[in-house]
């Protein structure tokens, strides 16, 4: 049974690209375009892994991750954060609030992405 990954990003082209890449690797991909939809889908589907964009309108990635963590069903789902620009602020925020979770800065190399996903799922 293939592992289920939830991709939340406000940009359609990025959602599409991640779907193509991840489905090519044999994952099942669920997508959501913002924080609210992301939380709904996470609770519905309970994915094996979440990939969240940090910078999204209305509910940002960090807030969504908090929601996922706070729910019993999803509290153990590993999360990979995507960021447009790698900044110390964001790195510190993740280190403090979501210790152990991973942060990737765009543009991401495909191999590095797969490697990180596999590490997170292990």
């Amino acid at each position: 049974m293939s592992r289920k990954i939830l991709v939340v990003d406000d940009e359609e082209s990025i959602r599409d690209l991640l779907s193509i890449i991840l489905e090519g690797e044999g994952f099942e991909v669920i997508t959501a375009c913002d924080g609210n939809e992301g939380l709904t889908k996470a609770l519905q589907e309970v994915p094996d892994l979440c990939i969240l964009d940090l910078m999204m309108p209305n509910v940002a990635g960090g807030v969504l991750a908090g929601g996922i963590r706070d729910n019993e069903k999803t509290c153990n789902v590993p999360i990979i954060f995507l960021t447009g620009v790698f900044s110390d602020d964001e790195a510190d925020m993740i280190k403090n609030r979501f210790a152990g979770e991973r942060l990737l800065a765009k543009p991401i190399d495909k191999d590095a992405l797969i490697k990180t996903i596999n590490e997170a799922l292990a």
């Binding site: 990025i14 599409d16 690209l17 890449i21 910078m55 960021t83 447009g84 620009v85 543009p107």
Partner: protein, 510 residues
């Protein structure tokens, strides 16, 4: 002319004439008295002489001889008019014809009207050893004395007239010398000084009152000259100071203008800095897409999966790459254009396009600041003469300002509309937020430099003053309405047409 000279002369002439006339009247009276006395004396001695001469003849009683003697005496004295000798009241001897109007015994005085024919009667007793022999009546002429008297009067008249003339000439000369000439000199001096020649001195060296007046006048002129010189000197200094000050002010103004221009530019660069992080983010998203799709396609090609069926997919990937790279290009171009230092050049621009470009460069900030953007922009053009670059900064500044009013996010609505204001076609842009609002007392200070409600280091308080500067450069107006707790709305009124002569606003450092 009521000349002082003539008046003074009149008074003097009048007085002297009065005195002279009085003197002459007195002289006439005196002459009368003297002549009267003399004529009386003469008459007495004449009559006494005749009586003495006739006494012996009367004693003898020889009246024939008496008549002869009277004739001899009468011929010897021209002045004797008539002689009569009475003895016991009867005339015994006569000489000449007696004037009956002259009454005997009356005392006649010289100068009286009754003294007709200039004759006077006189009566003397003829005595011999204290025995009265008879009476002598003599009438004698006063013609000689009248001649004498009139000669005296003539002398007096001529002397008086000559005296008057001399006095007049002397007084004329004195008045002229002592009063008229100095007064004229002072008058002339006053006129010359009045015309502005403060170097002039009244040439009057005298110790009298007029001399003192002239001296006082000269002193006054000297004082005036000193004061005038001082004032002129002061004026000159003042002029120099004003000129110098004006120059300094102009210089300061130029510097200020330059500083302001630099400030606008540096604030723009600060905005570019703020946008930089966002732009990087904005670029990384499409870059990620492009790299990702390229990677996917390359992999498929390497695996030989380029089939007819895949071509549609490939086409889609390439289209995405194209769209994304175009997006990158647009972002970079916008930022570059914005960061370029540009002269304040006006061009025909569409404000709707400016708003659109602003939203492109601000995309990252909008997301980061958790702002819900709304554009109330009708599907029409908002063409006006302006500088797109500067106006874009106006929108960025106002959005940044809105963000500071609602740090946890909120809504911003940008509105555009064409409207006529005071007969001028205008475009009205509004930027409204749903933030905390601005207290009434701060609204007036809002557009002042370095005014900021926040005490943070990041906010210098220049944003709104620069915004106002840019709007002013466009001959527009900016206003603000705010309600605490509800939100703030900035309105900008921009004229469609700029005035013909646009002030040169391009310092040489640009």
């Amino acid at each position: 002319m009521k000349s002082i000279r003539i008046r003074l002369l009149f008074v003097i002439v009048f007085t002297i004439t009065l005195f002279t006339v009085c003197f002459m009247l007195y002289g006439v009276e005196h002459a009368k008295r003297v002549i009267n006395y003399q004529s009386n004396e003469y008459g007495q001695s004449l009559a006494q002489g005749i009586a003495t001469a006739c006494a012996d003849i009367l004693e003898e009683g020889n009246y024939m001889n008496l008549n002869k003697a009277l004739k001899t005496i009468g011929r010897a004295y021209e002045t004797i008019h008539s002689i009569e000798i009475h003895v016991a009241g009867v005339p015994v001897a006569t000489y000449g014809i007696k004037d009956p109007e002259l009454k005997e015994g009356e005392k006649k005085v010289f100068g009286e009207k009754t003294l007709a024919h200039h004759k006077v009667p006189i009566t003397v007793q003829v005595k011999s050893q204290a025995i009265e022999l008879g009476i002598v009546h003599v009438q004698y002429s006063l013609d000689r004395y009248y001649e004498l008297f009139f000669a005296q009067i003539n002398v007096l008249m001529y002397a008086g007239i000559i005296f008057l003339g001399i006095i007049l000439i002397i007084f004329l000369f004195l008045i002229n010398y002592m009063i008229v000439s100095p007064v004229l000199k002072i008058e002339r001096g006053t006129k010359i000084i009045g015309e502005g020649d403060l170097e002039y001195r009244i040439p009057l060296r005298r110790k009298d009152e007029l001399g003192q007046l002239a001296n006082a006048f000269n002193d006054m002129t000297a004082q005036l000259k000193v004061s005038k010189d001082e004032i002129e000197e002061w004026n000159k200094t003042l002029e120099n100071k004003v000129e110098k000050r004006t120059h300094q002010l102009q210089q300061a103004h130029e510097e200020l203008k330059q500083t302001q221009y630099q400030l606008v530019n540096s604030s723009k660069m600060a905005t570019v800095g703020m946008l930089g992080a966002g732009v990087a983010h904005e670029l990384n998203n499409p870059l990620f897409c492009m790299i990702g799709y390229a990677h996917v396609m390359l992999e498929k090609m390497e695996k030989g999966e380029v089939t007819e069926a895949n071509m549609a997919e490939f086409h889609k990937y390439i289209a995405t790459i194209k769209t994304e790279s175009e997006r990158c290009g647009r972002i970079v171009t916008n930022l570059l254009q914005f960061s370029k230092k540009q002269k304040m050049e006006f061009a025909e621009i569409d404000l709707a396009k400016v708003v659109e470009n602003t939203l492109v460069v601000m995309e990252y900030q909008i997301k980061k600041w958790n702002i819900k953007m709304q554009a109330d922009v009708p599907e029409t053009s908002f063409t006006l003469q302006g500088n797109a670059d500067k106006l874009q900064q106006v929108f960025i500044n106002l959005m940044a300002n809105a963000h500071h009013a609602m740090p946890d996010g909120g809504g911003i609505t940008i509105g555009l509309r064409n409207e006529e204001r005071n007969g001028t076609a205008c475009v009205i842009a509004s930027v409204a937020d749903t933030g905390c609002g601005i207290p009434q007392e701060n609204l007036d200070k809002l557009f002042e430099s370095f005014f900021s409600s926040e005490k943070g280091m990041n906010n210098l308080g220049l944003g709104l003053s620069i915004t106002k500067q840019i709007v002013d450069d466009h001959h527009g107006e900016i206003s603000v309405e705010s309600e605490v707790g509800t939100g703030t709305t900035f309105s900008i009124i921009l004229p469609v047409e700029q005035p013909e002569v646009v002030e040169e606003d391009t310092p040489s450092t640009s």
